[in-house]
C-alpha cells in the first residue's frame, strides 16, 4: 500500500522516538514540504546502496526533539532518515 504524507509522518515520529529513547509526545513535527528527489533512494542512500536514477516526488519532514532537529525523507513507498550522526537510514520498508 502506498504511503500518504500522514502515514509517512507517523512512521518518522515513531522512529525518532525509538531511536532517541523518548516518548513520542516529545517529538514535534516542525515542517513538511513537498520536494523532488533525484533518485529512488531520496538522495539519502545508505553506504554502497544503488538507486534507480529517476526523479521522484516526495516529502521532506523536519522533526525536532529536545532542541535538536532531524530530517526525514519520504515518498509513497519509503521513509528514510537523512544524515543522522553522519549516516542515512532506511526506516520503511
Amino acid at each position: 500500500m502506498p504511503l500518504d504524507q500522514n502515514q509517512a509522518t507517523q512512521l518518522a515520529m515513531k522512529d525518532l522516538s525509538n531511536r532517541l529513547g523518548v516518548a513520542e509526545t516529545q517529538v514535534k513535527l516542525d515542517s513538511v514540504e513537498p520536494t523532488e528527489y533525484s533518485n529512488a533512494c531520496l538522495d539519502a542512500a545508505k553506504a554502497g546502496e544503488m538507486c534507480a536514477q529517476m526523479m521522484l516526488r516526495g516529502w521532506r519532514l523536519i522533526l525536532s526533539c529536545q532542541g535538536n532537529t532531524y530530517e526525514y525523507r519520504a515518498a509513497k513507498n519509503q521513509v528514510r532518515l537523512f544524515n543522522f550522526n553522519g549516516q542515512n537510514y532506511k526506516i520503511y520498508p
Binding site: A45, G48, C51, A52, P93
Partner: protein, 480 residues
C-alpha cells in the same frame, strides 16, 4: 541467427526469381502490361494497407502476403518489368501512370521470410532502384505523425517526444523544439526491430503481463512455467521471463514501475493499437530484477543479475545489451570485473550518467563511469535540446545525450506514466543499440558505442559536456 532449411529454400526461390528478372535465365512472355493501367495517382487513394504481414493461415504454416512499392531504375526495359510483375508469387495491385517504373505489388511467400528478408532480396536485383513496404498513412494523422511514412498505430504515439518531436505539448507543458528526438522514424524505414535481439533490463523487474510488453518479453523456452522445477538446470526455478536477484527466484515481476517504464521505452510493442511504441517495435526483453520495491539495491544483487545474464548468454540466449538505469555506491572492482566479463561475451552495458547535476569527469558515478569498452554512459536532455537540470555530464566520461525529461512509457497494472531521469534517457539508447543490431547483428559493443558517438546530432548544450557533444541519432548511427 539460425534459420530453418525452409527459410533458405524460400530465399533461394526469390534469388532465382531475380536472376530470371535480371535476364540471367531465359524468360517467358509477360502477362501484364503496366502502360495499360487506368489507375491515376491520387494521394487520397493510397490504400491503408498495413505493413504487417498478413497470415493466410499461420496455424498451417501457409504463405503470407506482403505489400510493397517497387521502383525500377530509369531505362529498365518494359519487358523486364513486365516479366517481374508476371512472376508467379507477385500480384500487381497498382501501377502509377504519372510515376514511371513504380509498382504497388503484393508478394506471397513463405511464412519464414520476413518483410526485411524480402526487401533485401528485391534490393539485390540490379534493375531495382528501391523497394519500400506499403507504409500506412493515416487520413487524420496528428501533426506529430506527418514527417515520416513509418507511423505505428499506437494511440499514445504523440506523447513520445523522444520518438517524434514536432513541438507538441508534453505532459501539459509547452511544446518542445521540432526535430529534437532520436530520429528513429527514418530508421524504422530500414527496420523496426528484431525479435532475435535480447535486451536485459537490470532494474526493478518488468511487468511481463503488460499488454504493451508481453509480446516482446523474452521467454525461456527451456523452462516449463510454474512447475516448480529447474527444467533447464541453470540453478533458477521457473525463470521464464528472467531472474529476480532480490528474492533469488525466477520471477522478475516489477513491484515499483521503474523497470517496466524503462522496458517500454526500449521495446513496447509497435503498431499493435495499444498504448505506446518502443524504440523497437519488436525485440526481446529479459527482466533482471535487482532493485527492490523502493528502487534500491545492493552490489551483490547487481552481480547476481549480471551473472544470470552471462550464464544465459553462454547457454545460447542472444543477449546483446544490458540496460542499467541505476547508480550509486563507490568504485567496486567486482562490478568492474563483471562488466568486463560482459564485454567478453559481446554484451553492451548502457548506463545512466546519474541525476546529481555533477561533472563525472571529476566525481565518477558508477556504474556509468567504469572504464571498459562496452560501457556507454547516457545524459538526459529535455524536448528543447537542453541538458536536463538534474543530469550528470562529463566531456570525457559521458558519451551522449538522450530524451530523459517527461518520458511517457509503460508502468505496472496496464498503465502508463511520465517519468524523468537519466533512467529514462538510458533505455532510449539501449533501444537505439538494439535497433542498430537488428540492422547489423555483427556490430560489437565497441563499434556500437563508436557509431553512436560519431553520429550524434550536435547539440550546443551538450558540447563540452559529453564525449559526442550531441544527442543520439539512431538513423545516422545505422547508416553512417
Amino acid at each position: 541467427m539460425k534459420r530453418s532449411p525452409l527459410f533458405h529454400l524460400a530465399l533461394g526461390t526469390l534469388i532465382i526469381i531475380f536472376a530470371y528478372i535480371g535476364g540471367v535465365i531465359n524468360h517467358q512472355p509477360s502477362c501484364q502490361n503496366m502502360s495499360n493501367s487506368e489507375w491515376k495517382y491520387n494521394p487520397s487513394q493510397i490504400p491503408t494497407i498495413t505493413t504487417e504481414k498478413t497470415p493466410l493461415d499461420k496455424s498451417l504454416g501457409l504463405p503470407h502476403n506482403y505489400d510493397l512499392i517497387v521502383k525500377f531504375k530509369e531505362g529498365t526495359p518494359q519487358s523486364i518489368i513486365s516479366r517481374f510483375l508476371g512472376t508467379l508469387n507477385i500480384n500487381t495491385l497498382r501501377t502509377y501512370s504519372e510515376i514511371p517504373s513504380l509498382s504497388f505489388i503484393s508478394v506471397t511467400t513463405s511464412e519464414n521470410l520476413t518483410l526485411d528478408d524480402i526487401i533485401a532480396s528485391y534490393k539485390a536485383n540490379p534493375n531495382v532502384e528501391y523497394v519500400e513496404p506499403n507504409f500506412r498513412y493515416m487520413v487524420d494523422a496528428p501533426s506529430s505523425t506527418k514527417k515520416s511514412p513509418v507511423i505505428p498505430n499506437d494511440p499514445y504515439f504523440e506523447s513520445l517526444w523522444g520518438i517524434s518531436n514536432v513541438g507538441q505539448e508534453i505532459n501539459n507543458k509547452p511544446g518542445g523544439v521540432n526535430g529534437v528526438d532520436i530520429n528513429v522514424l527514418k530508421a524504422w524505414e530500414l527496420t523496426t526491430g528484431d525479435d532475435q535481439i535480447v535486451v536485459g533490463v537490470v532494474d526493478t523487474g518488468i511487468d511481463y503481463s503488460h499488454p504493451d510488453l508481453k509480446t516482446n518479453m523474452w521467454v525461456n523456452d527451456k523452462e516449463i512455467p510454474n512447475n516448480g522445477i529447474d527444467d533447464d538446470g541453470n540453478g533458477v526455478i521457473d525463470d521464464v521471463y528472467g531472474y529476480n536477484a532480490v528474492a533469488d527466484n525466477g520471477d522478475p515481476m516489477d513491484d515499483n514501475d521503474h523497470g517496466t517504464h524503462c522496458a517500454g521505452t526500449i521495446g513496447a510493442a509497435g503498431d499493435n493499437g495499444e498504448g505506446i511504441v518502443g524504440v523497437n517495435w519488436k525485440v526481446k526483453l529479459m527482466g533482471l530484477k535487482f532493485l527492490a520495491a523502493d528502487g534500491s539495491g545492493s552490489l551483490n544483487n547487481a552481480l547476481e543479475a549480471i551473472n544470470y545474464a552471462i550464464e544465459m548468454k553462454k547457454r545460447g540466449v542472444n543477449i546483446r545489451i544490458l540496460s542499467n538505469s541505476w547508480g550509486g555506491g563507490d568504485y567496486s572492482k567486482a562490478l568492474h570485473d563483471a562488466i568486463k566479463e560482459l564485454n567478453k561475451q559481446g554484451i553492451l552495458f548502457v548506463a545512466a550518467a546519474g541525476n546529481s547535476a555533477t561533472d563525472t569527469d571529476r566525481y565518477p558515478h558508477y556504474p556509468s563511469s567504469y572504464q571498459a569498452d562496452n560501457v556507454l554512459s547516457v545524459a538526459a536532455i529535455n524536448n528543447q535540446d537542453n541538458i536536463a537540470s538534474f543530469s550528470n555530464y562529463g566531456a570525457k566520461s559521458v558519451h551522449v545525450g538522450a530524451p530523459g525529461v517527461d518520458v511517457y512509457s509503460t508502468i505496472t497494472g496496464n498503465d502508463y506514466a511520465y517519468f524523468s531521469g537519466t533512467s529514462m534517457a538510458t533505455p532510449h539508447v539501449s533501444g537505439v543499440a538494439a535497433l542498430m543490431l537488428a540492422h547489423d547483428p555483427s556490430l560489437t559493443p565497441k563499434e556500437i558505442i563508436n557509431k553512436i558517438v560519431t553520429t550524434a546530432t550536435p547539440v550546443t548544450a551538450l558540447k563540452g559536456k559529453t564525449i559526442s557533444g550531441g544527442r543520439v541519432n539512431v538513423y545516422d548511427a545505422m547508416t553512417k
